[in-house]
Symmetry: C2
Subunit: 329 residues, 2 copies
């Protein structure tokens, strides 16, 4: 049985040095301090682990994939800096967010700087020029899509009701594409064929959807202490998650519907309010529905890996897809 957390921790440890090495001290000091904070703060680092595992799973040289792993995590970090500022979030991983500590302008610039650095690292990848170009294509497209997905999320949080298909498209763009760019990029650096690269890309797209759907579930029924944040915030924002969309379709009693709608999008909803919504969703089977839908994505993700030969990296990729549904944080 593969211990995903342990392998993630091992990869994370290996990443510490390179994550720092591509950001040597430069002027001005406040921008550099803001730029290195998230890259140094750790986190699950699932995306760079995916890059390295994909490179290994296609029998490539993982060392050559390390700079790409760093670049993908820088991109993830850059989006977190900008998102935290947009959302007005004050804390991340127990520290003040960048805009809280250094102000809004520096948060914007630190994000931009990390974004630029990620592509500078890609420009210097130790792979043939044509392979570097393919990596660049998939990663640039991913960042374009990330911005689109993030905007859809902003629109959704502003109360624009969306269909389930639209919500899934949103999470494909805001979450899956970077996982997928990492996995496909790792496979490219590892020298995989086009078909294999595509299969690994699809695997990570599907995994990303499952990951985000389960994230939404955790955000409603997870343990606030383990998560390090309060639950129910998607409800307070009135976000059309899979659970919400399913509940809106399946609540038959007009009274219950009235109560549900009165809490959905209520920014000051109490713990008690959130508990009521959770109870309604349990009754409609909406939470179970979201979990089984996410399980379906996980299964389809794993099937995409059938083109890979056996090995510990493939096993880790399978386990990572299952972990997306099994984690408590």
């Amino acid at each position: 049985m593969i211990d995903v957390k342990k392998i993630l921790a091992k990869y994370s440890e290996e990443l510490n040095g390179p994550m720092d090495a591509f950001l040597p001290p430069e002027k001005p000091d406040n921008l550099m301090a803001a730029t290195v904070q998230y890259p140094r703060a750790g986190g699950k680092r699932m995306r760079p682990a995916m890059v390295l595992a994909a490179a290994g799973a296609v029998n490539g040289d993982k060392k050559k994939a390390m700079p790409l792993a760093v670049a993908i995590e820088y991109i993830h970090n850059f989006t977190l800096i900008h998102d935290d500022y947009m959302d007005g979030d004050e804390k991340r991983r127990g520290m003040d967010t960048i805009h809280m500590k250094y102000g809004g302008p520096t948060a914007i610039l630190a994000g931009d700087a990390l974004f630029a650095k990620a592509f500078e690292v890609i420009a210097h990848l130790d792979v043939p020029d044509n392979v570097m170009r393919e990596v660049l294509k998939v990663v640039t497209r991913a960042v374009w899509d990330l911005a689109r997905g993030q905007q859809m999320d902003v629109n959704n949080e502003n109360g624009e009701e969306v269909t389930m298909d639209e919500y899934i498209e949103t999470i494909r763009l805001k979450t899956s594409v970077l996982f997928a760019a990492g996995a496909a990029g790792g496979a490219l650096v590892g020298g995989a064929s086009k078909d294999t690269v595509n299969a690994v890309h699809e695997y990570a797209m599907l995994l990303g959807v499952a990951f985000q759907m389960f994230d939404d579930v955790l955000g409603l029924v997870g343990d606030p202490v383990k998560l390090g944040k309060s639950v129910g915030n998607d409800i307070r924002k009135g976000k059309s998650t899979v659970m919400v969309t399913h509940a809106l379709k399946n609540i038959n009693d007009p009274e219950i519907m009235k109560e549900f709608r009165s809490i959905l999008g209520k920014s000051g909803a109490s713990e008690d309010d959130i508990g009521k919504v959770r109870k309604i969703m349990e009754d409609t089977g909406s939470i179970e529905f979201a979990i089984s839908m996410a399980e379906g994505y996980t299964k389809r993700a794993i099937e995409k890996l059938s083109c890979l030969g056996p090995g510990e990296d493939k096993d880790f990729m399978i386990a990572l897809a299952e972990y997306a549904m099994k984690r408590d944080v």
Copy 2:
């Protein structure tokens, strides 16, 4: 005699189609509208003109340089979107700025999206893979430096007094590097040798410094009607421009120094206050000093072009450097 404005207008006209073509409609609508606004709004478009001229000046195919010209202008546009938000500016080219029209989050995302698109365009350049990689290296480094220069500018505006050398380093980073990446990139796409690429890069670095120094002069003594903005804002922000640094060194009368310092950094300084500062700087020769310093940079910029054979593109590049000092807007 070359009519720089006319040639810039011709290039700008040629750019309209490609600037649009790389941004076809996608979802969501509000992000797309925010993303295309500045690229469609025109402006001087000096940076893409530089890309095309540099490609032509090394006897390259200008058509192949067109996508790079677009990418460089997208990068310029992305920095404008983020800068306008950081500075709280409400108008640009007679239109509401992006954050005024679509809100702060969309301004951040539209900037990020344009940034990503610029590199996606570079990834698809119709040049050999190794040339594309060299272009990518110079452009990614430029964007990293832009963020640094912008932060130095923010720090400077927050009243941090800087030396003249530090100020020049700031404008090299916030202004010159993108001109230089455009010129060097154009030369690379045009198939120039490493030495020629470096010379063209240095030309544009020097031109950028002259351009920004003269911009500072215009910002104090220019015609507010032609500029479309009030003059003296650098004084109100207490910015250490070349003129200010020179004046602080050359005011001998303590009373005048007291008056100068009382207005410098005074956010509510009146037209009358600005007039006083202007008069003091005329007496200390600080405005002339900045102009002659900028002229020196222009001259050195033009000297760098001696490696190029004669031709209309070279002539335009020379004229562009002179124009940096002759414009009234």
